[in-house]
Amino acid sequence: MQILKKTNLKALEKAKKLGSEKIIALVSKKGLTGRAGGGFPTGKKWQMVKETPANEKYVICNADEGEPGTFKDRFILENNPETLIEGIMIACFAVNAKKAYIYLRSEYTSLKPKLQKTINEVLKKAKSKLNMEIFSGAGSYVVGEETAIIASIEGKRGQPNLRPPYPTTQGLFNKPTVINNVETLTNIPQLVLFDDWKDLKLHSLSGCVNKPGVYELPIGIKLKDIIKLAEPKNKVKAIYFGCFGGCLPYEQFKEMEMKQENICKQNCALGSSTMIIVDETKSIVDIATNIAKFYEFESCGRCTPCREGTMRILHFLEEISLGKATKEDFETLQELAWVIKETSFCGLGQSSMNHLLSALQYFKKEFEAKLK
């Protein structure tokens, strides 16, 4: 796998020789985009931070991998932390930051001692004065959002905040801040050093399959080719792109090329290429209830539709699974889901209904069969 290739600080050396301008140009030229789901061009982000005048700048590595069914960042943290750390060092060099944070999700605390040891070794070996700190999260899903990460590191409540100002101009402690995902930053030294670097993406595959795991695949590969790798146990019914990405019926879309824009057209989101494979033995209503429970628990409480709405959605879905819901309840559910998606404050609320809305689009009959 390309992502496991080690660069042994040679990429950093090369970056320093090239200078920050050229490094950013190189990252832009190779077309690296954010791997956490947003797909923002990494070079452009760095350029914005570099251009903003400030006496201090920060780099944050987002290792708050909270999306259900996603485990690719963990795979990197366990198997190639050296290259990740080098990537962070290159990012700091490119934007002239003196301090970097690795925001590690609290569920990954077990990785912390080894990661800390690796940081110490790499910094020592590079004779770097960079201040790199592991910041442990407190277990909130929404803190994966960049403004919420900033709030959390600042010691505030881990809630998303209003944008603009964007972190690139006013981020951590009101200073320009680069926030990149683990996978994005690990790609940096590799694309700097290896001429044959290819734009490959990690896919987390799980669900009703015999071979769940992390797969490295080119962007734009057909859905059926991905699913085949994981060896489904039965006939596949639907693919969930994590919780927030929504779901698609497999048979109808198996020929689709897995590109962000194709999936967006179906009102879903590819996100960080998470795929949970669901086969014919599973009920979509049960899955929807389960995901609704997750969002009800993870809503931060800031805005009305997400705080109150996710709770009501869960209630209605539970009623439906128990066969207690009426037609009117089902209509209220649909209206509510639409309002939550349209009017929530942050990405969590807005995407929290993707799973339900797409399930209602493609598997409505399963819901209707359970109504009173």
């Binding site: 931060c300 805005c303 009305t304 539709p305 109150e308």
Partner: protein, 557 residues
């Protein structure tokens, strides 16, 4: 910049948020969590509009050239209605707001909701504080109280705890307000759009004592409420209703109606004497005023090293309470034990102040302006039509210096007028200290008394006070009032308040001062008589005993 709203073009200020623009242009947009002067909460999601096919909360959007906004499409209506239903269902008790502008019940009925669509299971304990009562069962998590406490008052007494639908407002570790560093200023009450926070009511107790024939019930009214009480009865902001207020209170059954302005005059006599004494002795400077009980609490919690700089004077209503139970009781030959003193104040912190043991307070009950209005309504008095009456003269004659206590800068101005005249024997050449009047957060100036330059500064709002205290050493005399604009913007005043209303109340107070013949406390005949018959001189042993107090260091946790 030009934008298009509902098909019409408008020229707009690009720095203002869309909600503000829409309101200024006369569009009716429901909103609960937006408040001028605090950061954008974007919580309630009622101010939804449609911009290029997408629904957006107008409070967080900045206008862009050529932006097309639809304020009333079906989509917008549905989104607003559903969010209002969700908010409505969040309350397990109905709201009881006096905020006419932001009534959730009104918003809900306008959106066509008639009943609770969802049930609520939430149940919280009511936090019954000495001055401020918080009932989370009415709360809709709009965040205005939290932001007001932090961003305007720099007190951080309350914040959100827990997450999702368990999120609610609370002091740290879910303590009661009484047990945390809360200044009791009541600005959270003014911020709350659903009445989840309110003053600790004492209306029933007052109604009881009014019925008790054995008690001699006396009322005093603060300088600022005569400029605001009228609003409760539908009069325009800035109406001065002194005469009507006195008449109405007398009709409620109070035996005497006294004027806290006289207490203010007494405070000034003592405070200016204290200032002159410190000038003579060379310190400690700056001397800090202590008329505001929320400010005193703030200092006791957060600035222990400056407590020695605080003036030892009690606040005006406490002084008048004391004088009522000594000077007046003796004159009227009434046993002080049978006198009940009720203070009508613009303030919730005064409720707490009257329970301080070290004051041996002469005040038995404190009512806010809003409670006073309820009291008058209880007796079915037609406030607008009632004929003017005068205060009872025994403790009801006051000067313009006492009158301006209700506005930020007023205490300072009054003290300086009196100190100058006491020290030099002459009236200060210009009585109006314009540099410390007005709505600015921090104001300052200087005056020469007996060849020495006295530098003074004034702050209103506790964040401004914090900023001023950083430069405290530059000044000789500092006045702070905890609420924006001073007592005219107090936590017990009629709602809603905004800058415009505050300015009108302030103007009314200064007009009253300008009309008065007596404008320096030294010239007040009743003040002179009190000193002659009871106290002797300012700062005498007797006044130290009755009119001065001490402060305690309080822990933040």
């Amino acid at each position: 910049m030009k934008i298009n709203i509902d098909g019409k073009d408008f020229e707009v200020d690009p720095k203002k948020r869309l909600l503000q623009i829409l309101k200024e242009k006369g569009f009716e947009i429901p909103s609960l969590c937006y408040q001028e002067g605090i950061s954008i909460q974007s919580r309630c999601r009622l101010c939804i509009v449609e911009i290029e096919g997408k629904l957006k909360a107008s409070c967080e959007i900045l206008p862009k050239e050529g932006m097309k906004i639809i304020t009333n499409s079906d989509k917008v209506q549905t989104a607003r209605r559903v969010n209002a239903e969700l908010l409505f269902a969040e309350q397990s008790k109905f709201c009881s707001t006096e905020h006419k502008e932001h009534d959730l019940c009104k918003i809900i009925s306008e959106l066509g909701v008639r009943d609770r669509k969802f049930d609520t299971k939430k149940k919280y304990k009511v936090d019954l504080g000495a001055a401020v009562v918080r009932d989370d069962n009415k709360c809709v998590n709009c965040g205005r109280c939290v932001a007001t406490c932090a961003e305007i008052q720099a007190t951080y007494a309350i914040d959100f705890a827990f997450r999702g639908n368990k999120e609610h407002v609370t002091p740290y570790f879910e303590h009661d307000l009484n047990d945390v560093a809360c200044t009791k200023c009541g600005q959270c009450i003014a911020a709350c759009p659903v009445g989840a926070i309110s003053e600790r009511e004492h209306l029933q107790e007052v109604l009881q004592v009014l019925k008790d024939k054995k008690k001699h019930v006396v009322v005093q009214t603060a300088p600022s409420i005569r400029a605001s009480l009228g609003e409760e009865f539908g009069m325009p902001p800035g109406s001065l209703v002194t005469g009507k207020m006195v008449a109405a209170l007398r009709k409620c059954g109070f035996d005497k109606v006294f004027d806290t302005d006289l207490g203010a005059d007494m405070t000034i006599m003592e405070e200016s004497a204290e200032l002159l004494k410190r000038i003579e002795k060379g310190g400690p400077f700056p001397m800090i005023t202590t008329c505001c009980p929320a400010w005193i609490l703030f200092m006791e919690f957060f600035y222990h090293d400056l407590l020695k700089n605080m003036s030892s004077c009690k606040s005006p209503h406490e002084m008048l309470g004391m004088l009522t139970k000594t000077y007046y009781a003796k004159k009227a030959k009434i046993n002080p034990k049978n006198i009940i003193m009720v203070s009508i104040m613009p303030c919730t912190a005064k409720k707490f102040e009257s329970t301080r043991p070290e004051l041996k307070s002469g005040v038995d009950y404190v009512l806010t302006t809003r409670e006073a209005a309820k009291l008058i309504e209880h007796f079915k008095i037609d406030f607008k039509k009632i004929a003017d009456e005068e205060f009872d003269p025994t403790l009801g004659v006051s000067t313009g210096a006492g009158a301006i206590f209700g506005a930020s800068g007023g205490v300072m101005e009054a003290a300086l007028r009196n100190a100058y005249e006491t020290a030099t024997g002459k009236r200060v050449s210009k009585l109006e200290f314009d540099q410390i009047r007005g709505m600015d957060g921090i104001k300052h100036g200087s005056i020469i008394i007996k060849g020495k330059e006295i530098k003074f500064a004034v702050a209103n709002g506790l964040w401004n006070a914090r900023k001023l205290l950083e430069k405290a050493k530059d000044y000789h005399f500092i006045e702070v009032m905890a609420c924006p604009g001073g007592c005219i913007g107090g936590g017990g005043q009629p709602l809603p308040v905004n800058k415009d209303i505050l300015q009108k109340r302030m103007n009314a107070i200064y007009q009253q001062d300008a009309k008065m013949k007596l404008r320096v406390p030294l010239e007040n005949p009743v003040v002179q008589q009190i000193y002659k018959e009871l106290l002797g001189n300012p700062l005498s042993k007797k006044s130290e005993e009755l009119l001065h107090t001490k402060y305690t260091k309080r822990s933040k946790f």
